[in-house]
Symmetry: C2
Subunit: 344 residues, 2 copies
């Protein structure tokens, strides 16, 4: 990988397509001046938007595609219609072909995962990729996975995810041995289903030099930031993530109602408006936008479909970080290490 990071963008993905992707790239470019972009999509739409962005001068190459994956396409349908020719596929393929160091798309998650698996292939030793996200906590952030790539799990898959999540945490948080917890319904050893109990045994016995196994954690530990990496099965992880998002919105609604109910409250809100702005930024999921696909032979980041340019830029930041620190190599090294350490 060159020092100059190149990121391929599916410019047609997400609810807003190029009108979010292009200004998002401009925002990210400001923070990472060396970066170049390959933008895949409708050139007639993308080119004028890029021309309007002085921050994107001389760092964007547009590659025209005429097929775009729709947000509600089934993955199988998207692959059938978009394989080889859609903006999403070509953005992924640029990573496979070594033209880009990472790919970012705000498109349909199922389609992006299906295409990534076909185009990039999963890493040797990994059965199923996972989606990791950065979860805001009172102590900073944690890596949480799987937030919805696969439904159902077994102990081996949970251990793989612990290793891959730790590799990501080492890069993003700059840690030697991130702490890892398995999400469970209690912290006692006897709690949980067979998969988490067995995964706990393996992680405890393997004593990996790349991670510190903490033990079981509960739902309350997510916001608390008890560990750097939280591992769980995709069904539960997806529901936990959306429950947290929903709860944050719900409390925002309560807060707005409380601050407009009386004159005193309105005056208070006026005085505290900077504090509320800071709070709103803190609660804003755009700040930590981006699902990282782990377990593939290449870096693919999924941005939320409904994000604005700021959110899309956060996903590019993440891609940039992963590429610059060669996440794929880190994961591969840790997986090799684990294979040597894992108990029978």
């Amino acid at each position: 990988m060159s020092q100059r990071v190149c990121i391929s963008l599916d410019a047609m993905g997400g609810d807003h397509g190029p009108t979010t992707v292009v200004p998002g790239a401009a925002l990210a470019r400001e923070r990472h001046p060396g970066t170049t972009f390959l933008m895949f999509g409708d050139e007639a739409v993308i080119a004028p938007l890029v021309a309007k962005e002085p921050r994107l001068k001389d760092c964007v190459e547009i590659r025209h595609t005429s097929v775009a994956v729709a947000m509600d396409d089934k993955p199988s349908q998207a692959v059938r219609q978009g394989r080889g020719k859609s903006s999403m596929w070509q953005a992924i393929q640029a990573v496979r072909d070594g033209q880009a160091d990472a790919c970012v798309s705000a498109g349909n998650t199922g389609a992006l995962m299906a295409m990534s698996k076909i185009c990039l292939k999963t890493m040797s030793g990994i059965e199923r990729p996972a989606i990791a996200c950065l979860w805001p906590t009172v102590r900073g952030e944690s890596v949480v996975l799987d937030v919805g790539a696969t439904i159902g799990t077994d102990a081996e898959h949970l251990v793989e995810m612990a290793v891959m999540g730790s590799a990501m945490a080492r890069i993003v948080f700059d840690l030697d041995r991130p702490t890892v917890g398995l999400l469970n319904v209690g912290t006692e050893e006897m709690k949980g289903n067979e998969a988490v109990k067995e995964a706990a045994r393996i992680l405890r016995e393997m004593e990996s030099p790349g991670l510190t196994y903490h033990g079981f954690v509960e739902g309350t530990d997510l916001g608390r930031g008890t560990v750097d990496v939280v591992v769980t099965e995709g069904f539960t992880g997806n529901i936990a993530l959306k429950t947290a998002e929903g709860t944050a919105k719900q409390i925002g609604t309560y807060l707005r109602a409380a601050m407009t109910r009386t004159l005193a409250a309105k005056i208070g809100a006026l005085f505290a408006r900077q504090a509320f702005k800071a709070l709103k930024d803190k609660m804003n999921p755009s700040r930590a936008n981006g699902g990282v696909f782990l377990g593939l032979e290449g870096i693919v980041i999924k941005s939320h479909g409904s994000e604005n340019a700021q959110g899309f830029a956060a996903a590019i930041d993440l891609a940039h970080d992963m590429a610059r620190h060669d996440m794929i190599r880190t994961i591969r090294e840790m997986l090799d290490q684990t294979a040597a350490l894992a108990p029978a």
Copy 2:
């Protein structure tokens, strides 16, 4: 059942035992003047506390027990040591023997469930009981189950829970046909594991007169109050519940920090203190404290172990509501109806 509701209390349960249970009963008595209590536990501790509460005059009968289940006892151990003679067992047995209409305990959840199953038995047609809670939403409250009684599920169990949760919602929310959603990772029909897909098919086809099947709901729908009853497997439900609790605490921490950072914010907080108090009450889980055990031949309510008197009183309120409206009969009628309607 008499009009005068009698509630049996495990006075030794929870982190604080009688010092929370007795004032909690007093608070609840104020709201339900006809209620009487059977308190099981250490008479030497309970009697002076009751004597100090004028609101409990002539409505409490103390029954001495010398064995108390510890918060960290394993269920099997608790049953072995506490069967027949512990305050928890006797409080449940009072329901079985028709001396009380409902039982409330803040003790060890696993032990309470194990003892309830042995002592009260599960209802005919129900394989595994569930724990339901009242989830605060922006529209009011929803019934959510299972929040941790059993790990793993199948379609039949999810359908049973939909029926039992609806029976509870009919009573608590005074509705004829509560809306029911199955918690899933997306709302499209193809999403999820086999159990939720099959349960969706059964609920759709059965057209029960006691509930309206809404479809799949996601984690974000919990706080939104999209449906009256949300059904999910116990592992996921427990993690969703604790994730929401953790997120609420996390935002509370952010808010406190934001409101003390600058002088203007502090002045704002002063003006808005009534509004913040209202918000805190809204975010206070004590208001909706109480896990309802569904699927047993008797009403058992689990209060959080760490609750204060106000929280314990909320659990008693719930027990009172369930008893007064004969929840067991409502569930039985709905289960019979369902058995007649369920597709092959």
